[in-house]
């Protein structure tokens, strides 16, 4: 009968109209900015640099290896390596970036820089309300604007941060164990060298006995 399909459609819209007053399913509007949806944990917006501890420069994990600069698809990262070194979280002296700029007007939030970083130094932030009135300089974030503490990282991405912290702690333990073993070996070597009599003129007739575990 002519008109049957139209009546079914009218019934459908009436159901939606009535439902919009009573159910959340039929009225999905969230009135931003007064109301906000809870942010999803894995969301990624723009990168930031992590530092451990409280000093942004001393604890900065980035060693300016420039891998992220090379792999970035739109080439929006600009790094200048330092000439001096500072110790990293296991104590080894590393370079650090004197300049680390990201142009967030170019960045496409693809997260490849995070994937390729071998030092867990750059991660994705969740802030998106970054509009400024300065069209060029305001969207070029420098190293100090990009540095955030590890506590902040734990706040915004708890699961990911927990994994990263566990991995770094494991690495630290391994590095410490390795350093201890190396120190023991060096100490044993020094002791053996001190015990053997020093030859003045003639070269030693036999080679110095090899220490076990060296």
């Amino acid at each position: 009968m002519l008109g049957e399909g139209m009546l079914k459609g009218l019934a459908e819209t009436a159901e939606n109209f009535a439902g919009s007053f009573v159910s959340k399913e039929r009225m999905t509007t969230v009135q931003y900015p007064e109301e906000r949806i809870a942010p999803i944990e894995n969301t990624r917006d723009f990168p930031f640099l992590i530092f451990d501890g409280t000093d942004p420069l001393a604890g900065l994990r980035c060693v300016a290896c420039q891998i992220c600069e090379k792999e970035c698809p739109p080439k929006c990262i600009y790094i200048t390596k330092s000439t001096d070194k500072k110790p990293d979280f296991v104590g080894k002296p590393q370079n650090y970036p004197t300049r680390f700029d990201i142009d967030i007007s170019v960045c496409m939030s693809c997260q490849i820089c995070v994937e390729v970083c071998p030092f867990e130094a750059i991660k994705m932030d969740t802030q998106f309300e970054l509009s400024t009135t300065d069209r060029f300089g305001g969207l070029l974030l420098d190293r100090d604007q990009l540095s955030r503490s590890n506590e902040y990282y734990n706040e915004i991405h708890p699961t990911e941060a927990a994994e990263v912290d566990a991995r770094l702690a494991e690495e630290k333990v391994k590095a410490e164990a390795k350093a201890k073993a190396a120190a023991e070996a060096a100490a044993a070597k020094a002791a053996a060298a001190a015990a053997a009599p020093p030859a003045v003129t003639a070269p030693p007739k036999e080679p110095i006995a090899k220490e076990p575990g060296a």
Partner: protein, 397 residues
């Protein structure tokens, strides 16, 4: 007068009281002027309310809120829209015919306001009690088409002209079912006066009203009238002339600022006046739906019914896609016209059977069956001519 009767006649009493301050020879003129002021104040106010209701209603149908920032629940949105349209630059194309271009929206608004003169808004509340009120209303309604053509012609734009011609063709073709479906009411009532038509529907059997819509021919007439009214006022699903009709952007392309707002106003007021007429002819005008609800004032019933009609129009707009121009005209001439003519015959038969031995329930059944079979058959013919119909689909194996 009891309190209920006073409330019912409150505007009439107010009108007489104010006129009492003037000398006797001036009083009729003052009464008319007050009536005009009331209409000019009330209906644009309803127009403002309708724009908000439409946007919020459409929003709720689409699972979203409508405008809600200006004023509580967005009620003051029309104020913002009005200020916007008043402050926009009024662009008149260089090659346009300036006088006709200026007059077109005015003609529309004036013609539409004139139509309100014969609408009985409440008991004793009609501005002019014409004996040929129906005729006057339809004559004035046809002159709105003139303003649309003026708009299209004066813009000197091939697009606008095409759009205007299509709109006028649509409105002219739907005048015929509109008038024919209202003629049944005239036949049964025996008068062209809107006041008499409403009074003829004001009785009750038990507590059920005598509205014409509750009879078979009245129901068919009402349905035809409403569909034709949608087409006359260019409302969805017949709004191709003014929708984003891709190529021809409509007869009011060249209008901006306040003139556009006037076109908008004219269109909506036309919608109110035709809806008001449908209420007058079929839904009992200012009559109450049940006899125990007669304490509510008559003008309140009229406005409630008007709001119901507006809500129905908004509901249709949110649901239906648009018909193409040739399908529109097809529908008018090949479906609505035969149904309207058949309705005339059925109404005559109703009147004839009512006086014979076959009155009572029998005439109900005969008339309803005739109309229903005609509707089903015509519908099938309409769909089959263009090979339309539901389909079933096969799957690859």
């Amino acid at each position: 007068m009891s309190f209920v009767a006073k409330l019912d006649q409150i505007f009439v009493l107010l009108q007489h009281w104010i006129a009492g301050f003037f000398p006797l020879w001036l009083q009729p003129l003052v009464m008319i002027v007050l009536g005009v002021i009331a209409i000019v104040a009330a209906f644009p106010g309803i127009f403002a309310l309708t724009t908000v209701l439409e946007r919020k209603g459409l929003g709720r149908i689409q699972n979203r809120l409508g405008p809600n920032r200006v004023g509580p629940l967005g009620i003051l949105q029309p104020v913002a829209d009005g200020i916007k349209s008043l402050t926009k630059e009024d662009i008149v194309p260089l090659s346009a015919d300036a006088i006709v271009h200026f007059l077109a929206p005015l003609v529309l608004v004036v013609a539409v306001f004139l139509g309100f003169a014969v609408l009985p808004i409440g008991r004793n509340m009609v501005l002019v009690n014409l004996d040929a009120g129906l005729l006057f209303f339809f004559a004035i309604g046809a002159s709105t088409e003139l303003s649309i053509f003026m708009a299209g012609w004066s813009s000197r734009n091939k697009y606008s002209l095409l759009g205007a011609m299509r709109a006028v063709a649509q409105m002219i073709s739907y005048e015929v079912p509109l008038l024919l479906s209202s003629v049944v009411v005239v036949m049964i009532t025996g008068s062209l006066s809107t006041v008499k038509i409403v009074e003829a529907q004001s009785g009750f059997t038990g507590f059920l009203p005598h509205w014409y819509v509750f009879t078979p021919w009245g129901f068919a007439g009402f349905a035809l009238f409403v569909v034709a009214a949608l087409a006359e006022t260019n409302r969805s699903p017949f709004d191709l002339p003014e929708g984003e009709s891709e190529l021809v952007a409509g007869y009011f392309t060249e209008y901006s600022g306040f003139k556009f707002a006037l076109f908008f106003l004219g269109e909506y007021l036309g919608m109110f006046s035709i809806a008001g007429f449908a209420i007058t002819l079929f839904l009992g005008g200012w009559g109450a739906p049940f006899s125990f609800l007669e304490f509510v004032p008559s003008w309140a019933w009229f406005f409630l019914k008007l709001l119901g009609a507006i809500a129905f129009f908004i509901w249709l707009r949110g649901t239906m896609p648009r018909l193409r121009q040739d399908q529109l005209m097809n529908f008018a001439w090949k479906f609505m016209l035969p149904m309207a003519l058949l309705n005339l015959v059925v109404a005559g038969a109703w009147r004839f059977l009512g006086e014979g031995p076959l009155g009572g329930w029998v005439r109900w059944i005969i008339c309803s069956l005739v109309l229903l079979t005609a509707y089903v058959l015509l519908g099938r013919v309409l769909m089959r001519n263009q090979n339309l119909g539901p389909r079933s689909y096969r799957y690859a194996d």
